[in-house]
């Protein structure tokens, strides 16, 4: 057992940190977040051309770097820390994962090299039910000759208005729950798709609504079996959930660091306020949350690697993802909320960055299921299955 970064992983993390400290400054974030696109295309090009992060965990045979989820998570942590505005998450953590999990050999060979070279993409699966389980899928697909027709609306789609490639989930007419769900991959400019960005409280990540009106897709667009897509979609979403949690760790860390830096400067009653125990104890609680979050995410990243490689611990993915998301969501919100409180009056100004983290904390908490949702999922695993064999004990 060796539960720490290798030298190479450490290097990837520090490279990401150095790059983003220079490229994703507060000024850069604030300028990107007010555009409709939601990101700076020049920065995305630098990431794709110079850093190759979008190719990180795509296997080498499909034009990727062939690294693992631990490397990805190390990078995502820094993206969360610097509030990077980017189609990275949608492209890599949603779409690339979906194709890795569900794509046929031909589909991987066709689409993964495109993603590895900077084509943007996303995953659309949720309607407007507000759910994050199989019942969230409500776009309907029906057979149409040797292909399919898709009709309905997707909501809460990250970067859905700018992505060039879409992976979508739809269900057979009359099906319910996990039954009847199929996955498709198609160009975003296919006929019948209208896309609209939804202005969001957290401006650092774009969401869109996608309306499908009789969108015709060929048989070759189907990923996985017809009507048996839920297991593949659930695995994809679990992988993305680990990625969100990794961003949350970075955000929670930055909320702590920027707050502590402020506390060491601000003087009241003749002392820096960092010297008051009431303040120190809150900061210590924030550090506990962020370190525990980090442990949860690193473990989940190891499990995600196993899940992608079909390793021995692959079946732990739902549990590990839910543990990480449940804990990190609460931790990020706690740290950002305490961060505002400890900043005092300036914490509620637009000028100070802590407000941006407070907003990102909430949007990432909600996205892919909040902590209560993940805890209920874990409760189901613990409490609703067959009774485990009795152990000893008084």
């Amino acid at each position: 057992m060796d539960f720490r970064f290798t030298e190479e992983q450490d290097m990837i993390r520090s490279t990401a940190e150095a790059f983003l400290a220079e490229a994703s400054t507060p000024a850069a974030v604030r300028s990107a977040m007010i555009t409709e696109q939601g990101y700076d295309p020049a920065l995305w090009q630098r990431i794709c051309n110079d850093m190759c992060w979008q190719a990180m965990h795509i296997p080498e045979q499909y034009g990727g770097l062939g690294l693992g989820y631990v490397e990805l998570v190390a990078t995502l942590e820094q993206m969360g820390r610097y509030l990077l505005c980017s189609p990275f998450f949608a492209t890599v953590c949603l779409a690339a994962n979906a194709i890795l999990v569900a794509g046929s050999e031909e589909q991987k060979a066709e689409y993964l090299p495109q993603l590895a070279s900077g084509t943007t993409a996303t995953l659309a699966w949720t309607g407007s039910s507000g759910r994050w389980d199989a019942r969230a899928v409500d776009v309907v697909c029906s057979a149409d000759g040797d292909g399919y027709r898709l009709s309905g609306s997707y909501r809460y789609v990250p970067d859905g208005h700018t992505a060039q490639l879409l992976v979508v989930a739809a269900r057979a007419q009359g099906s319910s729950g996990a039954e009847g769900i199929s996955l498709f991959v198609l160009p975003a400019d296919s006929a019948g798709i209208s896309r609209q960005w939804l202005p969001t409280m957290d401006q650092t990540r774009r969401q869109a609504q996608l309306v499908f009106e009789d969108v015709r897709v060929p048989a070759g667009a189907l990923m996985g079996g017809e009507g048996t897509g839920w297991a593949l979609l659930e695995k994809t979403v679990d992988l993305a959930t680990v990625a969100v949690a990794a961003e949350q760790v970075g955000g929670a860390q930055q909320a702590l660091d920027s707050t502590v830096a402020y506390l060491k400067e601000r003087v009241q009653f003749g002392r820096v306020i960092a010297s008051y125990q009431a303040v120190k104890h809150k900061a210590a609680d924030m550090m506990v949350k962020v370190e525990a979050s980090r442990s949860a995410v690193y473990y989940a990243a190891c499990i995600a690697d196993e899940a992608l490689a079909g390793g021995a611990l692959a079946q732990e993915l739902p549990e590990a993802a839910s543990i990480a998301k449940a804990y990190c969501s609460d931790a990020y919100f706690f740290n950002a909320g305490c961060g505002i409180q400890l900043h005092g009056g300036v914490g509620i100004t637009a000028e100070y960055d802590i407000q941006l983290y407070f907003k990102r904390a909430k949007s990432t908490e909600t996205f892919l299921g909040n902590s209560a949702w993940h805890r209920e999922r874990l409760a189901g695993l613990l409490l609703d299955g067959p009774v485990p064999a009795a152990r000893g004990g008084r």
Partner: protein, 395 residues
């Protein structure tokens, strides 16, 4: 990052599990899952015999160097031993203070004579130790020790006078290590000595403290010119604080996974009851059970990080949060257990005050966030050492 253990370590795991299965039975069946914080008063004689049994199997001091009778087991193997021990229901160790605190201190700072004199008894499981640190006026402010040590030139011995408190297992222990003031004019960290003191002598009186559980595992210990040999001081007079603090560095978390296995046993019991009595269908209880599960799993991941950390002995960030994290988690588990039991949580096993396991857990976990550095002291340590926030001016 690598989650699995090596094949050699897995063989070691089988060896440990096999030995425990073959030996923790028969006369020792009654002590499975017994002892430990909150239950130290149970099956004392059987657990003492178990210490000697462990020695027969070569399972005491496994992390000690070979020249001092240990196995020089790697960190991984110590983790595995602790984990398998807890999994098998191994009883709370009576000898843990000697094995994990006295032994490593003597190995690091003791004279050849001290090692020769004290280490074998610890390994054999014959000599139990207790820790004489806290005093009525030296709790969180540990350096405020008032107990005095005076060297009697005529007798050639140290005479210790003062009072210690919260001394676990003092009434069962043969020896106590004591910090006492060798320089009567000194204050704070300076002027202390670290003494090895025999408990069975006229100058030592042990008085049990009855706890809220109705049981007693802590004691007050009174020294009235208790005698310590001239050779029974570790380091020089005045070095006591450094020796005492050196102890903290020896515990790099190898017992944490074993501790978590005990917590897992308790948590499993709460889950079992919740499923049995229907509490598992209450949405609020489901949230709390899941939250406890999340907390315990992360405790394990955190320990794995801690154990994989550097060899320089410095406390990493994940190690600094550990006490605050586990103590708070465990205390919350006690409360959850009562809420899962519902009205039955009030009903005792027997009069006059026979608590069941979970009731005892509920009451005794209130101590977890106090001993070994309160949650408030832990937060000070984290804020000052990890976050670099200034100390509050002290009076």
């Amino acid at each position: 990052m690598k989650l699995s253990f090596s094949a050699e370590d897995e063989r070691f795991r089988e060896e440990v599990a096999g030995w425990l299965a073959a030996n923790l039975c028969g006369e020792f069946e009654c002590i499975r899952y017994r002892g430990g914080p909150g239950d130290e008063h149970s099956f004392v004689e059987e657990r003492k015999a178990w210490e000697r049994k462990l020695h027969e199997g070569g399972w005491t001091g496994i992390g000690w160097p070979r020249e001092h009778g240990g196995r020089a087991a790697s960190i991984e193997q110590q983790v595995i031993f602790n984990e398998e021990y807890a999994r098998a229901g191994g009883p709370g160790r009576m000898g843990h203070i000697g094995e994990t605190l006295t032994g490593p201190t003597l190995i690091a700072f003791g004279t050849a004579q001290q090692k020769q004199r004290y280490l074998p008894g610890i390994l054999r499981g014959d000599d139990l130790w207790c820790q004489g640190y806290s005093e009525p006026g030296a709790g969180s402010d540990l350096a405020n020790v008032k107990t005095k040590a005076r060297f009697d030139e005529d007798a050639g011995k140290w005479l210790i006078t003062g009072q210690k408190v919260w001394t676990s297992l003092a009434h069962e222990s043969r020896y106590c290590f004591v910090i006492a003031r060798t320089d009567p004019a000194s204050v704070g960290h300076r002027g202390l000595g670290f003494f090895l003191l025999a408990m069975d002598q006229p100058g030592v009186v042990v008085r049990p403290i009855e706890q809220l559980t109705g049981t007693s595992e802590f004691n007050e210990v009174f020294f009235d010119e208790a005698v310590c040999g001239a050779d029974d001081i570790v380091g020089e007079p005045g070095d006591g604080w450094q020796v005492a603090m050196g102890l903290l560095g020896f515990e790099r978390g190898v017992s944490t996974l074993g501790q978590q296995m005990l917590f897992q046993n308790e948590f499993d019991e709460v889950v079992r009851i919740a499923r049995e009595n229907g509490a598992a269908t209450d949405p609020a209880i489901r949230q709390r059970i899941a939250d406890a599960h999340v907390g315990l799993r992360i405790m394990r991941f955190n320990s794995m990080r801690m154990l994989s950390g550097g060899e320089d002995g410095s406390l990493s960030r994940e190690a600094m949060i550990y006490k605050l994290y586990w103590a708070t988690w465990h205390r919350n588990l006690g409360k959850l257990a009562m809420d899962v039991l519902g009205p039955e949580s009030e009903i005792l096993d027997a009069a006059p005050y026979g608590l069941n396991r979970l009731q005892s857990l509920y009451l005794f976990t209130r101590a977890d966030t106090i001993y070994g550095g309160t949650n408030q002291i832990q937060r000070n340590i984290i804020a000052e050492r990890a976050l670099g926030m200034p100390r509050e001016p002290r009076g």
